[in-house]
């Protein structure tokens, strides 16, 4: 893609987020309700971890702080992903109700346009909370802090977000081919949540699935293993951005093919 075009798309994101802010400031309560319900969801998962560790000192060979650390990382990636790739209703809103026709008349790339129209900044609040949780666990574990850690973290989070984006864009693009894959999105949502625990506790089959087929383990445990000294695995950690680029590439390719096939809902 040409650089000026990328710049143009990012400019649009800025405009849409500003626009979003204006809308949401009119309905402030909605904004906070969404933030609170996002946080409540994370709180339940954290409570699960805390409750479990009341009864056992370790999960496999993972300590409580390590599991919390992984969860904090997961929250950061999940929050960024939720803010920019909010495609839950894609099939309903764009294909069945036919809004895709309008999107195709816009100058931006069709996928960028759809992502723009659904930006969801409140989701970023969970990223901040995740960062705080990860930071707390970092301190508790007494991990060393190197100057490059923040940069690595940014790259890892980008990689993880690309993995999510790639998978969900692929799924959304299935709407171009098939009528109602509405059941698949909740399915993914369920599977993705298993990446937030150390995959090492699962059996071989599930571990393989979460690593190489639906690489959700790269949104959580593997990138976190770069920072966790007791479980350091630099190779798997650095696979995160690689797998991210591959997943995003597949997502984009499936999307572009889907758009070519798209003929409108006809109603």
């Amino acid at each position: 893609m040409r650089l000026s075009r990328v710049g143009y798309t990012f400019g649009l994101f800025k405009e849409y987020i500003a626009n979003y802010a204006k809308v949401k400031l009119t309905y402030r309560a909605d904004f906070w309700v969404e933030v609170v319900s996002d946080l409540l969801f994370s709180l339940t998962n954290l409570l699960f971890i805390f409750i479990v560790f009341q009864h056992t000192p370790t999960l496999g060979d993972w300590s409580e702080s390590e599991v919390v650390f992984v969860y904090g990382y997961f929250m950061i990636a999940q929050g960024v992903f939720g803010a920019f790739t909010n495609l839950w209703n894609f099939g309903d809103r764009y294909i069945i109700k036919g809004e895709m026709d309008r999107v195709l008349t816009r100058p931006a790339h069709s996928l960028a346009q759809v992502m723009l129209e659904n930006v969801d900044p409140p989701s970023l609040v969970s990223s901040l909370v995740g960062l705080a949780i990860m930071g707390t666990a970092w301190g508790k574990l007494g991990l060393a802090f190197d100057w490059y850690d923040p940069f690595v973290l940014v790259i890892m989070v980008l990689g993880s977000v690309l993995i999510y984006a790639g998978i969900y864009v692929t799924l959304a693009a299935i709407s171009f081919y098939s009528d109602a894959p509405t059941g698949i999105i909740p399915l993914m949502f369920n599977i993705q949540s298993y990446g937030r625990y150390p995959v090492q506790i699962y059996n071989r089959g599930i571990r393989f699935l979460l690593t190489w087929v639906l690489p959700f383990a790269f949104v959580g445990v593997y990138p976190a293993m770069f920072f966790l000294e007791a479980h350091r695995d630099v190779f798997m950690a650095w696979m995160t951005p690689v797998v991210g680029l591959i997943a995003a590439g597949i997502g984009l390719a499936v999307w572009n093919r889907g758009v070519k096939r798209y003929r409108g809902a006809g109603s």
């Binding site: 409750i51 009864h55 625990y197 699962y202």
Partner: protein, 264 residues
């Protein structure tokens, strides 16, 4: 009159049958959830024999039966109701000579029966083959269990109706619905049995209706309760069902007086 309500059950059942993709993906969702929690709990147990009074086998059975019960009592009535309130469909429904909330409940029941027959039964057979699930041998326990998940359905549906009816009073109850879903999953004991909660948490749960949705029936099924405790659990469910009727009736009455349709 009752025949009309029965039709709603039948139609919803058939509608569910029509969406095959949703059905297959639903089965996979439940299999994955049970599988993942099975391994998670295995790791949690490690070398321990019992935790919080649960043996490994009881825990496995608990996880399997809880998710299966959830398949039966789970429905999206909250979303359906609030959508109908917001787009005005509820006004049309109100003119009909049938009770709107009863209709919704019947539709939810149709969904539940569908999942009971096509998810729960095959799912439970599969889970028994794959994991160490111990099914109760006493026929009485089976009967009580089915009565209890009927009440799980009723109570969970009451929650959904209450959440959905909030759309009459606030313009956007999206957040409320999400919060309800998350808190029901945690507090009802699907994700972690209430026996694992810290003492103050257990004490608080005793006074809340959530345990009636999953924890009580699943505990009965795993055979962790004595006969007296079993009847007591059933009584708690009946009690909460009766109590929750009151806010629904009150809300429904005041809602009908203030129906205002957005953009309608």
């Amino acid at each position: 009159m009752n025949a009309a309500y029965f039709e709603f059950i039948r139609i919803r059942f058939l509608t569910m049958l029509a969406y095959r993709v949703n059905y297959y993906s639903g089965i996979i969702v439940y299999a994955i959830n049970i599988g993942a929690y099975y391994f998670l709990w295995k790791a949690i147990y490690g070398d321990a024999d019992t935790l919080a009074g649960f043996t490994v086998e009881q825990m496995t059975t608990y996880v399997a039966v809880s998710w299966m019960a959830r398949a039966f009592y789970f429905n999206n009535l909250d979303r359906e109701i609030s959508n109908e309130i917001r787009d005005g469909g509820v006004a049309v429904q109100m003119t009909r000579p049938i009770n709107y909330l009863m209709v919704k409940m019947m539709q939810g029941f149709g969904e539940g029966v569908f999942r009971l027959l096509l998810f729960m039964v095959p799912g439970m057979i599969l889970a028994t083959l794959l994991f160490h699930v111990t099914l109760p041998t006493d026929p009485m326990r089976w009967i009580v269990f089915f009565i209890m998940i009927w009440f799980s359905f009723l109570i969970n549906t009451q929650f959904n109706i209450l959440t959905g009816l909030f759309a009459f009073f606030v313009e956007n109850n999206e957040g409320l619905m999400r919060m309800k879903r998350v808190s029901v999953d945690l507090l009802s004991g699907v994700i972690v049995p209430i026996a694992f909660f810290p003492a103050w948490g257990r004490a608080a749960m005793d006074w809340l209706p959530f345990q009636a949705i999953t924890y009580l029936p699943s505990s009965v099924f795993t055979g962790r309760t004595s006969e007296a405790e079993t009847w007591h659990a059933l009584l708690i469910q009946i009690g909460w069902f009766a109590v929750l009727v009151v806010p629904i009736v009150l809300m429904w009455r005041s809602a009908r007086r203030r129906l205002f349709v957005q953009g309608g």
